[in-house]
């Protein structure tokens, strides 16, 4: 989680310094969903994710250096610079195709699940998407087929709109989705569905591992909605870091600008996990600080690696159009 957090905060810095162009999205605030969720999957499961993919890849063990290189459009990027932030793919980790089209991956994940079932490989397909994706017709079409054909697919809907100005708002009726709660949608397609607090790593872990077990037992598609509160740094279209995350913030947020303080004090899943870890005695503050320093260091190195990686030869642009 700390690695993801530092990855994203550093990334915003790289953007501000002009090291890469274009629109991008960060995973800050959703770390306690992605990390436990992906830990429940087997090494050969298929994973499909979206514009908000960085946390998922890191949670699965992707190399932050190659991710940065991709986001900066460098030769050593996972996609050799052809994909960029929206499309990071890492086939060896099960990330075949990452789409920036809202709901684009939902049918694809259902298809990978279809293949796994047909080939009797025991794999499942995990489909990670935002609450907004349920507004696209591709979502209900896919839920329907997954249910009818009893496919081994895990739908993980990360609803980052709780109490927020986001889309499908977790705790109240939204302006863009009439279905409330969201899990009523999969349910109406006879898909088992559960809501869980996406800032509570343990709760997420339990919900996802149960869902995965059900899928492996052949019980068909499972749907989990995790609710998180949208990180205030993403209120604008380009993310800004209100304050760099440090372990100490878990106990004292006075260094956070007033208007962002609430989120760090009560909604930040990383700081909550830090507090919990210390409270339950699993680690001391010093041990965590050490882990944190290592994470920062690893991210620093990764960023340096990416910055040193050359741009691809322009001619590369016309290769690999066809397999």
């Amino acid at each position: 989680m700390l690695l993801i957090r530092h990855f994203e905060e550093t990334l915003i810095g790289l953007h501000d310094q002009g090291h890469f162009e274009g629109h991008f999205h960060v995973y800050i605030g959703q770390e306690a969903t992605g990390v436990p969720a992906l830990s429940c999957l087997a090494p050969d499961d298929h994973i499909f994710t979206t514009h908000r993919n960085h946390g998922h890849l890191l949670a699965r063990g992707a190399d932050p250096a190659r991710m940065y290189a991709e986001i900066l459009g460098r030769r050593d990027g996972y996609n050799k610079g052809k994909g960029g932030t929206f499309h990071i793919a890492a086939s060896h980790l099960g990330f075949h195709h990452t789409s920036g089209v809202v709901a684009g991956i939902i049918p694809l994940a259902v298809g990978a699940a279809y293949a796994a079932k047909a080939r009797k490989t025991g794999q499942l397909a995990a489909c990670l998407f935002g609450d907004g994706a349920l507004e696209e017709g591709a979502a209900p079409e896919s839920l329907n087929i997954a249910s009818l054909w009893n496919l081994p697919v895990l739908f993980l809907c990360e609803n980052n709109g709780k109490y927020g100005a986001g889309r499908a708002i977790g705790a109240v009726q939204s302006f863009s989705m009439a279905v409330y709660p969201l899990i009523d949608l999969p349910k109406v397609y006879k898909i088992n569905a559960r809501q869980v607090d996406g800032t509570d790593a343990d709760a997420v872990h339990q919900a996802i591992s149960e869902a995965v077990e059900r899928i492996r037992r052949g019980e068909g598609p499972q749907f989990i909605e995790t609710q998180t509160v949208r990180w205030p740094g993403s209120e604008s279209n380009w993310p800004i870091v209100p304050v760099p995350t440090k372990i100490d913030l878990a106990w004292d947020v006075s260094s956070v600008p007033q208007k962002f303080r609430d989120w760090y004090a009560s909604s930040d899943p990383v700081l909550a996990f830090v507090r919990k870890t210390v409270e339950c005695g699993a680690a001391t503050r010093d041990e965590l600080a050490e882990i944190d320093r290592n994470a920062v260091e690893r991210i620093d190195k990764a960023a340096k690696f990416a910055l040193a990686s050359p741009y691809p030869d322009p001619q590369e642009a016309v290769t690999e159009v066809f397999a």
């Binding site: 086939s91 075949h96 694809l108 490989t121």
Partner: protein, 326 residues
Amino acid sequence: MRELAYYEAKLEALREILAADERVHFITEIATGFLGLSARRFQFNEIAKSFPDRVISPPISELAVCGLATGAAMAGLRPIVDLITASFAFEAWPQIVNEAANAFYMSGGQTRAPVVFHLLHGLRGAGAAQHSHSPQAMLWNCPGLKIVLPSSPRDVKGLLKAAAASDSPTVFIDHVLLFEYKGLVPDASEVIPFGQAEIKRAGADVTVVATSLMVQRSLSVAERLAKDGIDAEVVDPRTIVPLDLETIMASVEKTGRVVLVDECHQSCGVAAELAARIAEVGFDRLKAPVRRVATLDVPVPFSPPLEEFVSPSETRIAAAIRAAAR
């Protein structure tokens, strides 16, 4: 060699493909099936019964179904999706042109999506505006898709086999009005590689480049014109992605006169691209302007005489060849 009808060769190819490779799954509305609404469609049933686990009927959800097939291809299958009427590909447009087409490139060559989308294009007779599309030009505007347009029994068989073996997403487009055409098909299983045009009729005066049903229509016109001393060469690219421009240009080199016959709407249609390419490389060889015979730029009308009027009919093809030969 045996004589087969187009639809028979097409079914034969599908049967062989399904029998040869367990990874092939065929997604279609079984009731109407691989042969569209043609009178022959019931012949598909036998195949559906032979491969009950791999021939499946989906809900009416073209978008999710094309995505499903693409995702399944990414995960080790080789699905063929039958969208029946080509116009329904529009429902699946985001998955075909923005997911499948981009997957290999965008992933930096990591992810293959060997999926085949099967469509029946064109003016089928009374299809009216919504059921008569020829989306091959729009698809050609989307890099990443291979596009196959067979015109004969031999080609449909050999090209379908190549499509099933292709590692790239492939759109296989044929025409319900081709189904009854007969022709020789090799006994042994033949795979016709993509990117090899075929001279369907040799001739000295005018080069006619046509695809799909328009090949048959052009051949029939060419025979008639031969009696009037106009000797047309009919070239069938068979696949437009990849395109065998060499064979086309060799013919243009000889004749210096070109007619393009294409069932897409004219503006930005397949004929537009062929015209642009031929004139780019063959400018000095052309003795007359390149002529296009395509569907007129209006929605396709229902009424038969209106439909005939807008279509690339034999009358219009003949007039264009005569004008080019002059």
